[in-house]
């Protein structure tokens, strides 16, 4: 069974995420504030609460540890802000992103749709061979709460989109890197299934 770390940006509630990982089969879940000891874990979750600049600053000192973990194949799941941080820059902040993935993070188009995008929306799966979405049916409902969205440069990363004003990329996957714009820990049975998939991927990394 997988040992998971959740990185704490210091911005809020990680209790739900913690409980969700435990409910869905993680052996133990630690909330950590430094990435120095990542070797102890089979997977890392970057949570989806907080604000871009403060989250980036809380992580800057550990950037090398993160890059090393990624290069060593550690499964990493970025949720919402935790996904957005992996890109080059965001309209939410002034600081550079972690620059793990090429592309940027943009504000949702306020003129076209209500912002934040809050509520249940459908997953349109655009790529069949995803490990994170294995067994998830087309059009499954997932829960979103966000004001910004990712715009990856490499379209091959995109596994699923959702329709909100336009087709937004909402699930990405590249080797051991996974990201969801929605909150799997709040997405009922579908979210639980995705969490289990991630934990299975982590178990293989033991």
């Amino acid at each position: 069974m997988a040992k998971i770390a959740i990185f704490d940006f210091g911005a809020g509630n990680l209790f739900n995420l913690h409980q969700s990982l435990l409910r869905n089969g993680a052996q133990n879940v630690d909330i950590i504030r430094s990435l120095k000891d990542l070797k102890k874990y089979n997977g890392l979750v970057l949570p989806g609460v907080g604000n871009f600049d403060s989250a980036i600053s809380s992580m800057k000192k550990d950037e090398i540890s993160l890059t090393t973990a990624i290069n060593n194949g550690m499964p990493i799941l970025g949720i919402c802000l935790g996904l957005e941080m992996l890109f080059y820059r965001s309209e939410e902040g002034l600081l550079d992103g972690l620059k793990v993935l090429e592309g940027e993070v943009l504000m949702l188009p306020k003129k076209k749709v209500k912002v934040p995008h809050i509520g249940w929306n459908n997953l349109l799966i655009v790529k069949g061979e995803s490990n994170l979405l294995k067994g998830i049916p087309q059009d499954s409902w997932v829960y979103f709460v966000h004001s910004y969205h990712i715009e990856p440069k490499d379209e091959n990363l995109i596994v699923a989109v959702t329709d909100y004003g336009s087709k937004l990329p909402v699930v990405i996957e590249r080797l051991n890197l996974f990201g969801t714009q929605f909150h799997p820990e709040k997405s009922g049975k579908v979210g639980a299934h995705i969490m289990k998939n991630f934990l299975k991927i982590c178990e293989k990394n033991e």
């Binding site: 209790f15 969700s20 209500k114 934040p116 809050i118 509520g119 249940w120 929306n121 909100y164 009922g188």
Partner: protein, 267 residues
């Protein structure tokens, strides 16, 4: 495709139990909040709202424990409201596992609270509850915030709907959006308790004034009422309390009915 419309059961919590006011019997016990939360979540509720209706200091402790227990058994979002006055009240509820806090009277007394909360926790976790009642005393045709051209205006009420503020609800809704609210929980005091349906005019007016999601509350007696408010306004979600208690109606039935009528719901 637009978002699904959300159906949100509301649980009034008093001294650690879910209660339901019944006109002729007073307050009646409706069950354990954690069990009910699990039940509604399994039935397909899109979110849950807990209102701490007494919110004394002693109840605050009980509520904290309930929040924690609920957060460990359900995997849908939930909001906690009732008596949240300060940043530290809100922080305590959020850190114990609630996804959102609903604040009402405190926002009117101290609008800065919304902005402070937004800066720390983000816009998405702040629901500003606005209780509204039509006020026909408009001889000067002027509220404290705007001109009125009808013979009444929508007045913001505080302290559980008991005290008027002379604040115009339309202006207030715009103001809280600007301050950093993520959603508005709109209750019509005129419709509340009538079971005659949601306040369509009020809901429409507020939905047309802001660009953040609005949750309609007050007056729901049947699934037909939910259909009416979804069909005739741009509202994003509905709150209902009594129709789900005592298994009069299940969420599944309500959602199927709405889906048949062409409303997008999560089934």
């Amino acid at each position: 495709m637009p978002l699904s419309k959300r159906i949100i059961p509301c649980l009034d919590v008093d001294n650690g139990r879910v209660v339901k006011g019944i006109n002729f019997l007073g307050v009646k016990d409706a069950g354990d909040p954690v069990e009910l939360a699990k039940k509604y979540s399994d039935q397909g509720a899109d979110e849950l709202v807990f209102l701490d209706i007494t919110a004394s200091k002693q109840d605050r402790e009980i509520m904290k424990n309930i929040v924690k227990k609920v957060a460990s058994v359900i995997d849908i979002p939930f909001t906690v409201g009732g008596g949240i006055k300060t940043l530290s009240d809100a922080r305590e509820i959020l850190l114990n596992g609630a996804d959102k806090v609903s604040i009402n009277t405190a926002t009117v007394k101290n609008p800065q609270l919304v902005t402070d909360l937004m800066k720390i926790f983000g816009r998405q976790c702040i629901v500003v509850a606005i209780d509204v009642k039509r006020n026909f005393m408009v001889d000067k045709k002027q509220t404290s915030t705007s001109k009125v051209d009808k013979d009444y205006f929508f007045e913001v009420m505080i302290y559980g709907g008991s005290k008027g503020t002379r604040i115009d609800a339309i202006q207030w809704a715009k103001k809280v959006e600007e301050l950093g609210a993520g959603e508005i929980l709109l209750t019509s005091i005129d419709a509340d308790g009538t079971k005659n349906g949601y306040d369509i005019e009020l809901t429409n007016t507020i939905c047309n004034s802001v660009r953040i999601p609005v949750i309609a509350s007050g007056g729901c007696g049947s699934s037909q009422h939910m259909f009416e408010v979804f069909n005739r306004t741009d509202v994003d979600a509905v709150l209902a309390a009594s129709i789900f208690h005592y298994d009069k109606l299940t969420l599944g039935k309500v959602k199927k009915y709405l889906a048949q009528k062409g409303i997008r719901t999560r089934l």
